[in-house]
Symmetry: C2
Subunit: 344 residues, 2 copies
C-alpha cells in the first residue's frame, strides 16, 4: 500500500463518517438536521416527499478497473436524483451507505465522496446520513434519495392515455456503447504492456457511461412551458423496459418508431465498429438516465419547442400491445431485454 | 437445490419485487404511494420526517449458520425503527434493498421478507420501496426508515445538561452473550455429528440476539407521563460508546455506576459459564437496542415510576470526563470499545 494512504481501521466507523461528511454543506430548507444523530430531520410541511433507493455492487453494477471512484460517486448520486426527477420532483436529500473491503483506503473513499459531493453541489442536494461497514468483498453502495414536489405536480407511471404522445429526452444507447468500448479496451489492455486505450472521437459515449447527468433541465423546461406529462419514468434499464412499465401501469399499449429514436453519431459509429445492432443498444442498453414521458396530443406544438426532446410515438388502446415500428413498417413486439442482474 | 425452490433468475428483478412486496399493506396516513413507481410519495405536512439508514452484510453483521432468515428480516427492520424511536419519533416507512447471491432462492428471500413484514405489522410501518440485485458474495441488506415527529417532541443527542439523570431501558449485555452462545454451539456443532445445541434456560439471551425489539413502549410511556428527555440515543454499539456520543454531542461529562447497570440473570450466568467479564459485555457488547436518555434531576420521581427504566448515573461538567464508577468506588474512564467493523 502507498505509504501516503490511510488505513480505514485507524479511524473506525464514526471517525470515518465524520471525516467523509464534514465538507458537505446544507442547501435546502427541507433539511433541518443532517448527519450526526440517530436520524436526520426533514421538514416537508408544504410539500410531498418522494423516496427512492438504489443498491450498486462492485462486480455487478460497476468495474473499478475502468471506473474512477470519483465518477462512481457522482453516478451513484445521479441515478437516484434521476428517479426523483422522473416523478417531476426536485431531489433534496441523500443518505449514502458504503460497505468497504480492506483493499480500500481512506483516500479511495474520499475520492468516491468527492464525486458524491460534486453531484450534490451541482444538483443542490444535501447529504443527511448513511452508514459504513467493512465488507468481505468489494465495494457496496446503497443510496436513498428524498425529493420534494407539490402534490399537484407529481407525475406517476400510471397516467398515460390513448393518443398521448410518447417523448424522450436526449439520445439513447450511448452509455451502453461506452460500456462496450471500456470493456473492449480493458480486454486488450490485459493482453499488452504499454497499452494506450483508443478513446479519441469517442468522448461522448464514454462520458455517458462514466459521468451521466440527471435531466433536471428537462423537468424545469417542462414546468416553464406549462407542460405536465401524463406519465413519466427515467430510462435506466432501456427504453423497451421503461415503455413496458408505462404501458402496464397505465393499462395502455404503444407504438414507437425506429426512425424517431434519438441516437448520437458516436453511438452509431461504435455500434458499427463493434458489429452490434444499433437499435438493440438504443432500445435495451440502459443507463441512459433520460426522461421518457407522455403528453396529451394537443401539446404537440409546445413539446416540439423544447430543446432536446424527441416525439417517438404514441399511446394506443391496451389490446394493441406495445410495439416498435421498423423503418420498413413492420411491427416488433417490445421485449424487456433490459439488464437482469439475476441472470447467470 | 430442493426441487420445490424457485431460482430467482426465473423471476427477474421486477418480478421479484412484485412477488415480495404484494402482501404488504399501507398503514400510515403519511404514505401516499408505496412500491411501484420511480419513488414513493409521502405526506408529512404537519410533522417533521426523520430519516435513518443501516447496512447489514453477511459475514460482517450476521452469520446465516445460526440466524434464521425470518429473524434476520425482523431484526434488520427493528434496528432501523430503534433509531427513529431514539429521536422520540414514530417509524412510518421503510425501504428494503437486497443484494442476493446465487445460493439464495425465492423461498429464502420470502422468508427474509416474512420477518420484515412481521416487524412492519407489529410496529405499524409501511414498506414503500427498495432495490434488489444479484450479489457476488452473500446477502447484503440496506434498509432506510422514515419516521414522524412533531418538531417540539424531537430529542437529539445534544441536549444533555449538567446534573441530568442518565436512564436506560431494559437490560444490557444479553444480546452479546446470546451471540457468544450461538457461536460456541456452532463451533461445537462443526466438530460433531448428531449434535443438539444446549439452549435450555438460555432462551432470553438468544431472543435478545435473534429477535430484538425496538422500545416503542418506552417512548409511549415517556410521552404518557409527560417526560421529554433532554437527550436520547439507542444502544446499538454498547452503552460506553453511546454515553460517549451523548457526552460529545452535548459537551458534558458523566458518571455511571456499575451497580446500577441493569443485567438479566441469564446474561450473568452465561458470562460466568464462558469466563467473560460481565460488565464488559454490558458496557461494550452492543445490539441491545435499548434507549439511553437523560432527564432533568427534578424528574427523578416520574422517571422511577416507569416500568423497565433504570437510573444509572448523572451528567457532569465536561471537565470531569466520562467514567464508570465501580462497586468499590474506583473510576474508570469510558472507552468506546464498541464494535469496529473495520478492525482486521
Amino acid at each position: 500500500m502507498d505509504s501516503k494512504q490511510t488505513e480505514i481501521s485507524t479511524l473506525g466507523e464514526f471517525g470515518l463518517i465524520e471525516r467523509l461528511t464534514k465538507d458537505f454543506p446544507i442547501n435546502n430548507k427541507t433539511t433541518k438536521l443532517g448527519v450526526g444523530d440517530d436520524a436526520a430531520i426533514l421538514d416537508y410541511s408544504e410539500l410531498k416527499s418522494l423516496v427512492t433507493t438504489d443498491l450498486l455492487l462492485e462486480g455487478v453494477h460497476f468495474d473499478l478497473r475502468y471506473v474512477p471512484l470519483k465518477h462512481l460517486g457522482y453516478k451513484a448520486a445521479i441515478v437516484n436524483f434521476s428517479d426523483v426527477y422522473a416523478m417531476n420532483g426536485i431531489p433534496q436529500q441523500i443518505t449514502v451507505s458504503l460497505g468497504i473491503s480492506s483493499r480500500f483506503t481512506l483516500e479511495h473513499i474520499e475520492e468516491f465522496y468527492s464525486g458524491v459531493k460534486l453531484a450534490c453541489e451541482i444538483y443542490g442536494v444535501d447529504l443527511v446520513g448513511g452508514d459504513t461497514s467493512a465488507s468481505m468483498t468489494g465495494l457496496i453502495i446503497s443510496i436513498t434519495c428524498i425529493g420534494a414536489a407539490k402534490e399537484e405536480n407529481i407525475v406517476l407511471r400510471s397516467g398515460a392515455k390513448e393518443s398521448d404522445l410518447i417523448c424522450v429526452s436526449g439520445d439513447l444507447g450511448a452509455a451502453y456503447m461506452g460500456l462496450q468500448l471500456l470493456e473492449r479496451e480493458n480486454r486488450v489492455a490485459a493482453d499488452q504492456t504499454d497499452f494506450q486505450p483508443q478513446f479519441a472521437g469517442k468522448e461522448y459515449i464514454l462520458e455517458r457511461q462514466l459521468k451521466p447527468e440527471a435531466r433536471r433541465d428537462i423537468v424545469e423546461m417542462l414546468h416553464a412551458n406549462g407542460i405536465k406529462p401524463t406519465s413519466m419514468i427515467d430510462v435506466s434499464d432501456g427504453l423497451s423496459s421503461e415503455l413496458l412499465h408505462i404501458c402496464k401501469s397505465s393499462n395502455v399499449g404503444c407504438r414507437v418508431y425506429e426512425e424517431k429514436i434519438p441516437i448520437d453519431y458516436q453511438t452509431a459509429i461504435m455500434a458499427e465498429e463493434m458489429n452490434m445492432n444499433l437499435y438493440t443498444a438504443a432500445m435495451n442498453g440502459g443507463e441512459d438516465y433520460e426522461l421518457l414521458f407522455t403528453v396529451p396530443l394537443t401539446m404537440h406544438d409546445q413539446v416540439k419547442k423544447i430543446k432536446g426532446v424527441s416525439v417517438i410515438g404514441y399511446i394506443t388502446k391496451p389490446e394493441l400491445g406495445a410495439a416498435l415500428v421498423s423503418n420498413d413498417g413492420k411491427e416488433f413486439e417490445l421485449q424487456a431485454q433490459g439488464w437482469n442482474a439475476f441472470k447467470p
